[in-house]
Amino acid sequence: MTTATNISDTSTSDLMVEMRGVNKWYGDFHVLRDIDLEVRRGERIVICGPSGSGKSTLIRCINHLEEHQQGDIVVGGIPLTQDVKRIEQIRRSVGMVFQHFNLFPHLTVLENCCIAPMWVQKKSRKEAEEQAMRYLERVRIAEQAKKYPGQLSGGQQQRVAIARSLCMHPDVMLFDEPTSALDPEMIKEVLDVMVELAKEGMTMLCVTHEMGFAKTVADRVIFMDQGQIIEENAPEPFFNNPQSERTQLFLSQILGH
């Protein structure tokens, strides 16, 4: 573990996500090696790294879509254990946006945004719909509320997916390559929504290769390779003065043309 700079010097009550010595294996394959990570409330973190380095696995451990085998994860003060009730409690406060949107194709856009507030938070239909319309307006897609996901473009679908997550009022949002399945002309509309969200103070962990986004909104950029956090720094020093060779190589590959 070579953490370039250690900028976490805050009180523990302010921590949204805390990972200590997290290890994970798929059979013999060591996907996550001794991950230590602290995310404070309101912090925006971008995670990058080569394909297969374990970025998705890392953020999916935070809401227990993947199970870690060693180490501790604490989300919003709640330690993540095997206890199903506790996992569900954590998931209610952690929003997630997937690479392939994963909208529910049998439900309309509006129903996609209402189903969890109604069935998980027990809101009335009216209340859930009003709230869903507010969030759909925020991601500028309210006029499509009655359509089915299959009738929307990729960029529109991803904005609906963001709205669907926001409807649960999450404390943290996890993004797993939210723009990498999109055509280039749609990437901006999704990034714009994410930048706005960041400006409003949402705590965000974002796996992305959109370095422009990282430069504008990230408080910290994390570089992962082979299941390890190789380097961790504020965007400006991270991009201008990368410490490790592997980071330099990676940055030259994705920025260098």
Binding site: L65, E88, R92, F98, H100, N102, A116, P149, R164
Partner: protein
């Protein structure tokens, strides 16, 4: 021949290429080989259809009450007429048939109400159909309450019994099948192995054996004061048997749903049952409609096997009537009638499933 061709040529060209003549040309008479096949096909059709129509309709006898009213040149539908009440209600007492009629009327009304999209209150009608109606039907058919004379189940029969077996089998097999399919995918080893063993056991045994065991062997294991009605035993055997098949059909549907769907639902904090009930199953069941209806249709026809444990379903009662000495020699009419009744129900199910598929498909195109 040549004359015919010239006549066709002299006709004015059809206004569009989809006129009947153009259709015949392109589909049946395009080229000598196709023309030959078409003619052979028409000839075979002629050989089959003409005698059938003559037998079943033109030369058939419809009115009368004894076999002497039949000329014997065509079908003797008098036989079916004379026995019709029995074919529908079995040995149900004549004086009590009004009770069965109420149940029939309620049954078909409920099905129509649920099947016709325009009618309102679907949810409440469905709840009534699943909870209230079975109780009412039982009280009416079985009697013994409210001064209704008791009619024991061994007098139930005919179409009534067939529909009862099929409906209970379908309504029971679907939820049990869903639970088994979910159990088979479960991470809990005990639940999983129980479901696997259960499914594979029932799938590996012929239905006849199941019914036989239910009627002959089960009483041997149960204490003698605990006698379970023969019909109930057949119903349980049939339902469990079909639920194993249903489970496999539904498992196929569950596998076709991308993993991301359940993950997205989980990420929103939904519990296992909400993930399944709200997200995964609705999609899987829609996709599985053809398979589910297929299982229903085979169940409907499998009900005829209850004959071997002495229950007289539609086919059983027809067959019993054939050995009546007053009506010997009309087995063809009897079997044609039974086949026609089965066909009507199975064909309706098949058409309704096609309609449902189309309707649900436009609901959410991907």
């Amino acid at each position: 021949m040549i004359h015919n061709q010239t006549i066709i040529k002299e006709r004015p060209a059809p206004s569009s290429a989809v006129g009947p003549v153009a259709w015949l040309r392109t589909n049946l008479f395009n080229g000598p080989v196709n023309t030959l096949f078409t003619l052979i096909g028409l000839y075979i059709l002629y050989l089959l259809v003409v005698p059938t129509v003559q037998w079943a309709f033109i030369n058939a006898d419809w009115v009368g009450s004894t076999r002497d009213d039949c000329s014997r040149e065509g079908a003797c539908w008098v036989f079916i007429n004379a026995r019709f009440t029995q074919f529908i209600y079995g040995l149900y007492p004549r004086s009590e048939i009004w009770r069965a009629n109420i149940v029939f009327a309620g049954f078909f009304t409920l099905i129509a109400w649920l099947a016709i999209p325009r009618l309102p209150f679907k949810r409440w009608v469905a709840v009534f159909a699943l909870v209230g109606f079975p109780v009412i039907a039982y009280v009416l058919l079985h009697g013994g309450y409210f001064d209704l004379p008791r009619v024991s189940t061994h007098r139930w029969g005919g179409l009534m019994l067939t529909l009862l077996l099929a409906t209970v089998g379908m309504v029971g097999a679907l939820p049990i099948g869903i639970v088994l399919a979910l159990g088979r995918r479960s991470n809990m080893p005990i639940v999983k192995s129980f479901c696997v063993v259960f499914i594979e056991f029932w799938r590996g045994v012929p239905l006849i054996t199941v019914l036989f065991m239910a009627s002959v062997m089960l009483p041997l294991f149960l204490p003698s004061e605990m006698s379970v009605d023969r019909l109930v035993r057949a119903l349980i055997g049939l339902t469990l048997f079909q639920s194993a098949y249903m489970a496999e059909v539904i498992r196929g549907g569950l596998q076709a749903i991308p993993k991301g769907q359940e993950e997205a639902a989980a990420a929103l904090g939904m519990t296992y049952w909400k993930r399944m009930g709200l997200i995964v199953l609705p999609q899987a069941l829609k996709m599985m409609i053809p398979g589910i209806v297929n299982t229903f249709i085979s169940l409907f026809k499998d009900t005829t096997l209850v004959m071997i444990i002495g229950l007289f379903d539609l086919l059983g009662i027809v067959q019993a009537a054939l050995s009546d000495s007053r009506w010997l020699g009309f087995s063809l009419e009897g079997y044609v009638f039974a086949a026609f009744m089965f066909w009507v129900f199975c064909f309706s199910m098949s058409r309704y499933s096609q309609y449902l598929e189309r309707k649900l498909h436009t609901g959410h195109k991907r």
